[in-house]
Symmetry: C2
Subunit: 313 residues, 2 copies
């Protein structure tokens, strides 16, 4: 059985960890957002892929949810001495990932091939597939103009209000054979509790990928989405403020509306139980449960409940 | 006053350190061999430049003479996990140099420009000029065929006998404006006690650079060379075995013969005092002194004595 999850960074990685624990090894395929990817010091950094990678490899920093546990910063400190920009802070172990990835890409490999190699080297049973091999890059429109995503996200700490988003390269991005094969093989699809605008949004903006997801659903493959908004707030990151500044309702219902027509089961937190009726009115079955995934047990439980709801559809 | 030194790695860096100490800040220009340069993990590594750089910046590992003091290896250990070759072991702080250099080269800068930027960032008053901006790469012929230099030097630990050397790219390498200007401005030139075959050899194999050196000498600019062979042995590295397998005499005289016609003053160690007559017969003045440069004081002394011998020419 193949289960395909769509994921961004930390929130997506947590549910992906639960799904990996709940499923036989190798059954999970995670399609990750690449529109946060950025070149730093000439190296390709893939924040969402690497957050999912380190989480599924069991080496993620448990406190912050991204980066590698026990990380050191010797390279970054020297890069500062050499006059390089250092607001995007990369650890030494993490840097090795970017170095190896960039070297192999420059030698001619596709991003998907390189990503799979790195996952195997770390012993990860799950395949984590970049949504596209060609660059797609998110920019956000602030009141001061367009910003590269990491400028907004890291350098400016998500302070600016986001008035619009664009996913440069999404229009022309080809779906990878790996992503298309995974969606053809899928028996279930789970949209992780990632930011619907800038994490899941870019994945769905790759038209042939969205078409393949729709085609799977048309064949009867059920799709679930887990709300990243709980009690009107984002569990992590700027999703709540971004929904507001873009004119969406800041609630699980606001998220559900964005997925209407794509999703069969919508998972919302127990604190939002009163919203279940509104979700149902959008044509989705509502699954109400505790969606806070603080530890591995909670992650596996949310995963199992979500899979069970899809299976019971 | 500009003094130009030609240098390879550790031995050259030691005399360069002495010259920097002996001269007013900014008067020393070191032209370094680039034919040892190598691409590792997609990053350009310049061993000779960086050994001179770290030595002149006062941050070199005092025990091994290359690399940065107090170095750590977190990146390399992760690169090993990711399946990268690790026989060329790069420290974390050193890696930052290669990352910054490669990023700026890919952004379009010349190697000389990037090198000067890095030197300024480390507060080095001396300018360390790559002998060429375009790649020149040493290969050595072993009994098992041609080897890339670092394959021979690091991976095989200089075990193979060297039957021939080639400097790929030297024929077509353009001299840089910076090297030509330095040689035009030079009032003295010092060939450091580096391997005459694979450290000084490639520099002199860049024909226009060699011509500029000859032109300076024809204008009356005196040139000294310091022997890297003391008592019939190389102070460091494979220079002695390389001289032997290439059919040269393994002695200070053997080195002096390689520089005949290029050099006015040849500095040889007190243990080789009996060779001074043979050196003189090659048309050079012999300076006999203690050339072992174990500490900063000894380096400065050898530098001062060499400069004095040139000045007194």
């Amino acid at each position: 059985m193949t289960v395909v999850a769509l994921a961004g960074g930390v929130g997506g990685a947590r549910l992906a960890e639960g799904l990996q624990a709940a499923l036989p090894a190798g059954d999970l395929v995670v399609v990750v957002n690449t529109a946060d990817d950025t070149e730093r010091h000439g190296l390709l950094v893939c924040p969402d892929h690497d957050t999912v990678l380190y989480t599924l490899a069991g080496i993620a920093d448990p406190a912050q949810g991204w980066g590698i546990a026990g990380e050191t910063f010797a390279v970054m400190e020297r890069l500062a001495v050499l006059g390089e920009e250092t607001w995007f802070r990369l650890g030494d172990r993490d840097m090795a990932t970017h170095i190896a990835r960039t070297a192999r890409l420059r030698a001619g490999a596709r991003l998907t091939e390189v990503s799979l190699e790195i996952q195997r080297a770390l012993g990860v049973p799950t395949r984590i597939l970049p949504m596209a091999d060609s660059p797609v890059r998110t920019r956000v429109l602030s009141d001061d103009g367009w910003l590269d995503f990491q400028d907004y996200f890291v350098r400016l700490r998500q302070a600016p209000d986001v008035r619009a988003v664009s996913f440069d390269g999404a229009d022309t991005a080809e779906p990878t054979p790996e992503v298309l094969l995974a969606l053809e093989a899928a028996s279930m699809v789970v949209i992780c509790p990632s930011n619907p605008i800038v994490s899941i949004g870019p994945i769905l903006a790759v038209r042939p990928l969205r078409d393949a997801l729709r085609a799977a659903r048309a064949r009867g493959v059920p799709v679930a989405a887990v709300s990243p908004i709980v009690g009107g707030k984002a569990l992590k990151g700027p999703a709540d403020r971004m929904l507001a500044s873009l004119g969406h309702e800041v609630s699980a219902v606001g998220v559900a509306r964005l997925y209407a027509g794509l999703v069969d089961v919508f998972v919302l937190d127990a604190v939002d139980a009163d919203l279940a009726g509104k979700v149902a009115s959008l044509g989705m079955r509502a699954l109400v449960t505790d969606t806070i995934m603080g530890d591995a047990a909670a992650r596996a439980r949310v995963a199992r409940e979500t899979l069970a709801a899809l299976d019971g559809g």
